[in-house]
């Protein structure tokens, strides 16, 4: 009968967990103990059997199907966004990306000044106004296809996203860009003007054209915090890999804000 201590040493031996001295001593003991030798053979046999069973146990295709929405959704929104966002989803096959800004608002009422309103889902971003000069100014993170993991080409569904845009003091007209995927679109800012609208045509997940071509104008910013409303329609945004984010850009020669 192999005692517990010896069996533990045997178990560690088959895993290569013994030091050189311990290994030498155990192998010496092993050479003179038939029962221990049989136990060694059995243990190696059992390990091999378990490994074979494990490697042969492939999940059914049903699991791939069940997990598919997660695979298509890409990265999840951070928890703080997920909790506070009104909806976390939508995305869809459409032909263009349209961005509209309405300025001078202080509240969070959904924007209703567009003729596309009836077809839209409305999302409120919870990005709080930030005083960190290095923080992104506003983001759109709701371009995930959670509601419709398998959008149909015929199922065109414009998506509207609202979010606050923090405007730190000291930035000028060239400080902002709207970034969708790897494409940047300058955002012009002009005081006492109203309305921002840009139409981006997206092909294969990339913005292929932008209207107006010279950027966005005019845009209104009032006060320190600009509550920006963005409407987005897009093709290729459904894969969860393309997000729009408004970021600061430091122009060459221009002093960085803050």
């Amino acid at each position: 009968m192999i005692d517990e201590k010896t069996f533990e040493t045997l178990s560690r031996y088959v895993d290569g967990d013994l030091g050189p001295d311990e290994t030498a001593a155990f192998e010496y003991k092993l050479a003179g103990d038939d029962e221990l030798g049989r136990a060694l053979i059995d243990l190696n046999d059992l390990r091999q059997s378990l490994r074979t069973v494990a490697l042969d146990d492939h999940p059914p295709a049903a699991l791939d199907h069940m997990v598919r929405p997660l695979r298509r959704a890409g990265r999840p929104m951070p928890q703080r966004w997920a909790v506070t966002a009104l909806v976390g989803a939508a995305a869809v096959l459409v032909v263009s990306v349209i961005v509209v800004e309405e300025i001078g608002r202080t509240g969070w009422t959904p924007w209703t000044g567009s003729s596309w309103k009836e077809d839209r889902k409305i999302f409120a971003l919870s990005n709080p106004p930030s005083r960190d000069p290095d923080a992104p100014l506003g983001t759109i993170e709701s371009l995930l296809a959670q509601d419709d993991p398998e959008p149909d080409l015929a199922d065109l569904e414009p998506l509207e996203v609202m979010g606050p845009l923090d405007r730190p003091p000291g930035f000028d007209n060239s400080d902002l860009v709207l970034k969708i995927g790897t494409t940047e679109v300058p955002v012009s800012v002009a005081e006492e003007n109203k309305g921002l609208r840009v139409i981006l045509r997206v092909e294969g997940g990339r913005v292929s054209s932008c209207s107006p071509p010279e950027g966005i104008e005019p845009t209104l910013v009032l006060g320190d915090v600009c509550r920006q409303m963005l409407s987005v329609e897009g093709l290729g945004l459904h894969d969860g890999q393309h997000e729009a984010v408004v970021v600061k850009r430091h122009e060459s020669g221009a002093p960085a804000p803050g």
């Binding site: 069996f7 492939h58 990265r75 999840p76 951070p78 290095d134 992104p136 995927g181």
Partner: protein, 202 residues
């Protein structure tokens, strides 16, 4: 080159942070770029499934469990910062869920026949690979016997055996996953192997 051109499209928000010149944010962004859910799923779909199947003893329940486990992984991926090994992190999530899942079922005795059909499938695969008929039958019966014996062991013995011998994890990784000292892993594994040897021999 536009300032964000270097950023992968997956995480533009973090890319924005990189440009903020904040070392803390930059480091976080870099680490969060390291792994995607697709990579995690591709690498761990089999191990997670196999573990769930061992501990639920039912294909239907294993499917449900896997879906929940991968949902938790998906949700948690944003917070994964490479401080732990990916495999350890994934198995920790799986084990924590499966343990509570089993407890929620009140430790009901699980019929050993529940995996019978799938054993047949597995054995069929083995038969296809083995060199001759007699050895194929012996091999398949032996694997069947070992898996049945594994199912009769205590839960804490099953998990340590499966992680070590089934998935070939290190003692340290197993200790982290089960949240026990490494010495406990060594002794528990030895007892589990001894118990399994006894069960198979009966």
């Amino acid at each position: 080159m536009p300032p964000y051109e270097h950023c992968a499209t997956a995480i533009p928000l973090q890319c924005g942070d990189v440009l903020s010149d904040s070392p803390r944010r930059a480091a976080a962004a870099r680490s969060s770029l390291a792994v995607t859910f697709e990579e995690v799923y591709s690498r761990f779909r089999r191990p997670v499934w196999a573990l769930a199947r061992r501990l639920t003893r039912s294909d239907d329940e294993a499917l449900d469990a896997c879906q929940e486990i991968f949902l938790r992984i998906w949700r948690g991926l944003d917070g994964f910062r490479n401080e732990a090994k990916l495999s350890t992190w994934v198995f920790q999530i799986a084990w924590n869920f499966l343990r509570s899942y089993r407890r929620s079922r009140g430790r009901q005795p699980i019929p050993m026949e529940s995996l019978k059909d799938d054993h047949s499938v597995m054995i069929g695969r083995i038969r296809d690979r083995a060199p001759d008929a007699e050895r194929r039958v012996i091999a398949s019966e032996k694997l069947d016997r070992v898996e049945q014996a594994l199912g009769r062991l205590a839960e804490h013995h099953q998990i340590v055996l499966w992680l070590k011998d089934g998935e070939d994890l290190s003692y340290q990784d197993i200790a982290t996953i089960l949240d026990v000292p490494i010495g406990t892993v060594r002794s528990r594994l030895a007892r589990a192997r001894r118990a399994l040897r006894g069960e198979v021999g009966q």
